[in-house]
Amino acid sequence: MYKVKISQKILATNEEYALKNRRLLDEKKKLCLNMISSPGSGKTTILKRTISELKNKIRIGVIEGDIQTDLDAEKIRATGAPAVQINTNGACHLSAAQVSSAIEDLPISNLDLIFIENVGNLVCPSAFELGETAKIVVLSVAEGDDKPAKYPAIFAKSKVLLINKIDLLKTAGQVDFDIERAKADARKLNKGIEIFPISAKTGEGMDNWYEWLTRSVKNLRL
């Protein structure tokens, strides 16, 4: 019996593609945001509203990741924005290689911002770098305020936390969600995380998110 020292990164292939994506996005000065959340937190609804309301300010394209169907890409295209659908056929996350080929299908010269809507899953997508500028984690109030404590990795790695569906908190007793607890838990591991409570349905709080997006796009152009 003998041992051979290897010291090789297991996800090296994914990292190579992620680096390739990052270089392309840097060179073209495009902001690229990887949105991660549980299924049903409202990622697509947030994107639809964001695209419609920022139409005259930021040119947005979307890469949609789902296990099956192109329902989400169709919803995005209905807003007038270009969208490319990736079907992972069972895989729980997007890979950098998939994103690399999707970027080629987007008219990126005509875009300022590319959203990647990852497969709905709060664990797996956080382990795969896609070459994005930053990760955005979405948590809807119906999921419970304990999620930042229970799923620390994604909250530790994200630049922004969107707490969605806050309109559900207006009717007393409908949903118990302590926003301050969720914020405090997310900040335990990530002091700099920007947190915006929003309702993509009513539009409440969306201005703060738009302001952050507009500033981030502008900073990249400098």
Partner: protein, 114 residues
């Protein structure tokens, strides 16, 4: 479930070295950081499924989990962060910088001597 992708990457890496050594691999050591969120059982299960019928079948995998570290902004101590209760063990400060998580690495492979 991302362990499936990782198991496939791992099998590819081990198979490449196995071809080079032309020997039967018996065991492999892997290391990973906390935020990789690797479940050992899931990884071993997926690896065994992919390795069936190859020279890597029935290999023993050992996973070393490296704790994520933080650097206290108050007393400058570098310490292992306890995710459930993240604070500096020396000054109890909760203001710290989270240091980069250890990557997922295939450390070494043990081969059978012919």
């Amino acid at each position: 479930m991302h362990e499936l992708t990782i198991a496939q990457g791992l099998l590819d890496a081990i198979s490449a070295e196995t071809a080079k050594q032309n020997a039967k691999p018996l065991a492999a050591k892997i290391s990973c950081g906390t935020l990789n969120a690797i479940n050992d059982d899931s990884l071993c299960f997926a690896f065994e499924a992919f390795a069936k019928g190859t020279r890597c079948e029935r290999m023993k995998l050992t996973v070393e989990h490296k704790p994520i570290q933080g650097k206290c902004r108050n007393c400058n101590l570098t310490f292992d962060v306890e995710l459930g209760r993240p604070r500096c063990p020396k000054c109890s400060g909760e203001n710290f910088e989270l240091l980069p998580d250890a990557p997922l690495v295939l450390e070494e492979i043990e081969f059978q001597t012919e």
